[in-house]
Amino acid sequence: MGRYIVRRLLLNLLVLWIVATLVFFAVRLLKGDYVNERLGANLELSANNPVAIKQARHELGLDEPKWQQYFTYLGQLATGNLGKSFETRRSTWTELGERVPFTLELGTLIALLSFGVAIPVGIISAVRQDTWADYVLRGFSILSVATPVFFIAIVMTFFTLKYHLFTIEIVKSPHFWTDPKAAFFKYLIPAIAGGIAGGAGIMRLLRSQMLEVLRMDYVRTARAKGIAPNGVILRHALKNAMIPVLTVMGLTVSGIIGGQIILENMFGIRGVGNYLLYTITNRDYPPFQGTVIIIAFVVVTVNLLVDIMYAWFDPRIRYT
């Protein structure tokens, strides 16, 4: 196990290097850079003043050859330095530190809602196969998988507006620990929309896995031994049905940390997803690259954790 983890960590390092390289060259392939996207909008600096533009590029280090920028960047990465934002001249870590709480707030709510609803619902749907409860729950999940998350949010917004249910405070960006009531209403729609979108797939997968497992001989044996029905379902069946579901749950967690770009954008939540969108539109390379690398780091780490958890759920799985 130890050797396996070390090998996986080394491979993850390789993957992170690939991501770092991809994102570095991808942003530089885009049309325009920070100077003409942002400063160029300023008339004084645009075409009239090539000297100022050149100087701005020089100050940001954009006039160096690409490979030289690349190696500087790799060197910084190796020491954990994600560079400074062109716009605010603050370090990417500081900028992210302000955004992560918003994403975590929304993300925790989405995770709680989607896992908390999908797992019991998936179990009920499988145990009561082909009853009306199963049909309703399945129909709902099939429909939710096919619906874009922003459309779920729009339908909910429509009813909120139509019947004046509540108002949403966006400008002040409340946190749960500063203004719980305002925060609750602000996150209500995006959390439910994200929860439905995230939970539907998990529920469907868990149901089909449970159905398969419930037909296994060892489940019948457990029942024959006289174990309480709920014990059979939870301890014997669920534990085995969870293995493929874990992979999907891992992906959901990664997605949450990567920021719900669309939901954050729709509801004016100043989280990581919105920051990614903002920095890439302004061609603010360093914080964009840094954020993508941090997200990739989380994704590969979560994947590794999921693989390690497999072994806990199914002791037959051994890693060497």
Partner: protein
């Protein structure tokens, strides 16, 4: 002769109904389809939805009734013709008239569904029904072609990676890991923004690239299990080259996986394109459902029709392709469930 034939038929196992044995191939396919529709009702429902979307896409010029960009105008009841000689709109506005009075026509915007405009009109007085029909063409085009690109490139890389193993495999798998470690939408944003105004083909290519990673992974794992089979060993000992082994022996055995990947992917690409369009980064110069949902968000409580109908169109199309794809997967290879 006839007797010999029925004897041979009798020797067949009983699972095939007697009537099915002597049928020509075309009829057999028909019977199989009918049985598929009966056995997999959800799948059949999905197929019906897919056919609806495809018919709308292919026959859109016949079905859309109006041009999707035509602005409907109505005569302005408040319009007062300018006094002769006292001319320009600007002069009239300066003379104290409001904008409502000086234009002869106004757009028929934000109409609710009615006889002329079945689904109402949008902010520019364009017919929502016509735009949804045209959007179906875009959705079908994007979904199918993105999936085609993802599956063909993914199959090539997956077969090569799984068949040769070693360093080639290590390389491909790490690139796949790298691509999958990106948040999907960010990757799409990056590719699409190479041009200031992303053309349609670039959106399709970007979606295809995203799907490439998944396809490589799935095809590779299928190839890995085929590679161990004795018939590969046998073919190799007969002197088959690597190319021949891959094309004639490995590839035909992963066709089911490829078909499943293709059909299940379509819905996902339609969703991803809708998300891109919703963020304002979709293909330029065409009408897409995602853009319509976004455009309808202003004043949602007063005139929700554009958002609601176009969002529902996305759901119907994706639902159709998903259900049809799921049924095909269950039919071809139930073990792939949940991948």
């Amino acid at each position: 002769m006839a007797m010999a034939r029925s004897e041979a038929a009798a020797a067949l196992p009983e699972v095939i109904p007697a009537s099915a044995r002597d049928r020509p191939a075309g009829r057999r396919a028909l019977v199989r389809t009918a049985r598929f529709m009966r056995k997999r009702k959800l799948g059949a429902f999905g197929v019906v939805l897919v056919i609806v979307v495809l018919v709308a896409a292919i026959l859109s010029p016949l079905l859309q009734r109006y041009d999707d960009n035509r602005q409907f105008l109505a005569r302005n009841p408040n319009y007062q013709a300018a006094p002769s000689g006292g001319g320009s709109v600007l002069a009239q506005l300066q003379a104290g008239k409001t904008a409502n009075d000086v234009s002869e026509f106004v757009t028929e915007r934000f109409q609710s569904p009615n006889g002329t405009h079945w689904l109402g009109t949008d902010a520019f007085g364009r017919d929502i029904y016509a735009r949804i029909i045209v959007g179906a063409r875009l959705a079908a085009l994007i979904g199918i072609f993105a999936s085609l690109i993802a599956v063909t490139t993914g199959t090539v890389c997956g077969v090569v990676s799984g068949y040769f193993g070693g360093l080639i495999d290590l390389f491909f798998q790490r690139v796949v890991d790298g691509v999958q470690a990106f948040p999907a939408l960010v990757l799409l944003l990056l590719i699409v923004q190479v041009f200031k105004t992303p053309p349609l083909w670039l959106t399709i290519a970007a979606l295809g690239f995203l799907g490439w990673a998944t396809s490589v992974r799935v095809v590779r794992s299928a190839v890995l299990s085929i590679r161990q089979q004795p018939f590969i060993e046998a073919a190799r000992s007969c002197g088959a080259t690597d190319i021949r082994l891959m094309l004639a022996h490995v590839l035909p055995n992963v066709v089911a996986v490829i078909l499943i990947l293709f059909s299940i992917g379509i819905g996902a690409y339609i969703l991803a394109e809708a998300a891109l369009s919703f963020l304002g980064l979709g293909p330029q110069g065409v009408t897409t459902w995602g853009k319509m949902v976004e455009a309808g968000r202003n004043g949602l409580d007063l005139h929700p029709w554009e958002s609601l109908f176009s969002g529902a169109a996305i759901t119907v199309a994706v639902l159709g392709f998903n259900l049809a794809g799921d049924a095909l997967r269950d039919e071809l290879d139930p073990r792939l469930r949940g991948r």
